[in-house]
Assembly symmetry: C2
Homo-oligomer: 241 residues x 2
Amino acid sequence: MDVTSETRIADFAAFMAKSEQDVIEWASLRGRVYFVLRECVVSGRLPPGSVITLRGVAKALGTSMMPVRDAVTRLVTEGAVELNPNRTFTVTRLSPTRFMEIRDIRIEIEGWTAELAAAHISAEELDNIQTLHLRVEKASKSLDVSYLTWNRRFHFSIYKAARKPELITIIELLWLKYGPVLHYFSLEDDARLHGNNAHSAIVSALAERDGAAARRAIAFDITTASEVILPRLTEDYNNRA
Amino acid sequence: MDVTSETRIADFAAFMAKSEQDVIEWASLRGRVYFVLRECVVSGRLPPGSVITLRGVAKALGTSMMPVRDAVTRLVTEGAVELNPNRTFTVTRLSPTRFMEIRDIRIEIEGWTAELAAAHISAEELDNIQTLHLRVEKASKSLDVSYLTWNRRFHFSIYKAARKPELITIIELLWLKYGPVLHYFSLEDDARLHGNNAHSAIVSALAERDGAAARRAIAFDITTASEVILPRLTEDYNNRA
DNA sequence: GCTTATTATTTGTGATCACACAATCACAAA
DNA sequence: TTTGTGATTGTGTGATCACAAATAATAAGC
């Protein structure tokens, strides 16, 4: 218990410093705490199942309990964190069946969104997506953790081209639940290469304004990635249960 | 300003009493406050655009600010309430385009869920849905406000038969945003009759385990209802803007 | 020595207080 | 009459305190 809490505090502090280097500056304190916690959960710094205590996080971040409380309860309503009957907060652990359900929903919704994007995408948006595609490829070759970040930006740049903000909101929620398990993926080079092939197919489908092809390419991307993740997740889930 | 706040307080108190008559008993105070506020928003007691103050609600419910604060911030993350730059909370007002976007998402997701339900539905579930269908029909003939409640139970009983909890979560969020504008609908008898025809089609499609027909029937139900709502919403939106 | 009961610590929950910001109203000057 | 300026009120936000419940730790009993 001592080690994890210490680790958490160190992670929080490190990420706090990094996030202040970033452009994003939040007005309210609760917003900053939410941002830090959210990134820790999505990036896998806080692995699924790890406990979160309000006072611990507050101490680690040098704030009061209140902003942490707001941030954590928000993550609870978003499904990234669970409130156990033991009165403890834990990062949500996805069961294999739940993982597969979210995978199927992602294929349906993100595929649909990409299909809509193919109909509305502008030349500038397409340019931006192509450069992002190159950044993802570069990040996938070097063993960099930033791969997941670039991959995220690549996907959401496509979805934004559909001009459906409510769909974006839903997809963000899906990624928030899906994000932690993506960490199983970060050291798997061949899977990344497959992902790059899928990304190429997405880009060319968008360039040709072929909605059906874009939907298929998105589905292929999600499927290939999940085929790498699912066995590792299942193994991990059975061991820890 | 005086009238609305008084009205709000009265509504809250009345609904508080009614909710305690109900079976549902929440452990935490924040949960009860959330439940009350949520129902006030969904049922249209708090029309879109009305302001919510933490101290006012706390005073009306006889609690401290804290549970209200938790409940309202949760509604904000769920999209039912907005936090304006003026530092005031207001019930989210759906623009016509935003309404149509959610309508389309509902057709896609709820149609899909009904299609899945047709494949997995059991005999008991089908029985339950048929009795609920009769309750909706009865409530639609008498000019009762409970029509929306029964309609909601009818729909979610179908979606639960799909056995996809993540989909249910998404649909709940959609209804939370969609709910307030359904109040335009409550006095329109002929539209209700159309809705009943659509419901009959849904039930028979489920009885025959015809997924494609169930999807079409759901889409028809949502479309016919929105065709009644949209012009009224647009008129209201243009007048108040 | 092992089990059980009791204390102690840690947890989330709710209440209260202090602060900063925004809006509104009142009064005075042009 | 209109406009600018100051004060008052009301707002969300953050901090601190008190409490109940649950877990962990300790001590008592066999």
